[in-house]
């Protein structure tokens, strides 16, 4: 079995990013769209950690901590918005919220 290189991690992270993007672009359920955003942020973190390990530099891990902080804030606010939306419009489907479309 070939040894694991940086490229393996980059490929894995790219695949995770693409799966997350597919989720964001194609799903109608807002809860699952938010989960797909978490997948994308995790793909970014895998990249940061892989380069941090590769360069023997701890700064990448600091960046990953900030990305995780942002993910927490985004999830909290996003789910708050979702609850407010469900109370007002009785739907969690993204394409049924079309007040700003014409």
């Amino acid at each position: 079995m070939a040894p694991i290189t940086l490229t393996h991690y980059l490929a894995l992270s790219a695949a995770l990013l693409l799966i997350g993007t597919i989720g964001v672009l194609t799903r109608r359920n807002i809860v699952i769209i938010l989960m797909s955003i978490e997948l994308i942020l995790n793909a970014v973190n895998i990249n940061l950690i892989a380069f941090s390990h590769y360069w023997h530099n701890v700064n990448g891990q600091i960046f990953a901590i900030f990305v995780i902080t942002d993910a927490v804030a985004e999830a909290a606010v996003g789910l708050g918005i979702l609850i407010a939306l469900f109370r007002n419009k009785e739907t969690v489907l993204a394409d049924e919220v079309d007040l700003l479309k014409w």
Binding site: I68, A84, F86, L93
Partner: protein
């Protein structure tokens, strides 16, 4: 050898969980698959000697964010949504765009591999002196002190914002 074995095991966890997250009809199934995927990512952190982030990933993501998701799934009635169409009408265009971006990324990763190999610095001696958590703390509380404080402010704003959003009347 063992590294490769563990890498592929965690990669299967990560990608399998991600695929199920995106494709499942029930939001609870999606959440469980997302937990599997996040645990796989945590394993990858451990594989790359980022022990502190491994702990943070388990405690914060699996213990915090996913519980938040499950609470919202409980509060919001998703039965109606689960019976309807799960993918929107633009899914073909979306897949096409994602395939284009994927081709680009694959091309650049293939081309860039040799550049990474050349530029790699040698491993410094005694790099793990003090351990991973101590290293992160030293850098975070000296070099990145201002971003750290700004992050705490961001979290405060997020807490206040989500309460304002979710509360019926303030």
């Amino acid at each position: 050898m063992t590294d490769a074995l563990f890498f592929y095991a965690f990669a299967v966890l990560v990608l399998g969980g991600a695929v199920f997250t995106v494709t499942r009809r029930s939001a609870v199934h999606s959440a469980i698959s997302l937990i599997v995927s996040l645990v796989g990512v945590a394993g990858l952190y451990l594989l790359q000697q980022a022990e502190f982030l491994f702990a943070v990933q388990i405690v914060l993501y699996v213990g915090g964010i996913m519980v938040l998701f499950l609470f919202v799934i409980m509060l919001v009635n998703l039965d109606q949504a689960a019976k309807q169409r799960q993918f929107n009408r633009q899914w073909a265009i979306a897949l096409l765009c994602v395939a284009a971006v994927g081709t680009e990324i694959a091309y650049f990763v293939r081309k860039g591999t040799s550049a990474f190999q050349v530029a790699r610095p040698p491993a410094p001696v005694g790099v793990n002196a003090g351990g991973n958590t101590e290293q992160i703390a030293t850098v975070l509380f000296s070099q990145y002190l201002l971003p750290f404080e700004i992050a705490s402010l961001l979290l405060l704003v997020a807490v206040v914002g989500s309460v304002v959003m979710a509360k019926k009347r303030i």
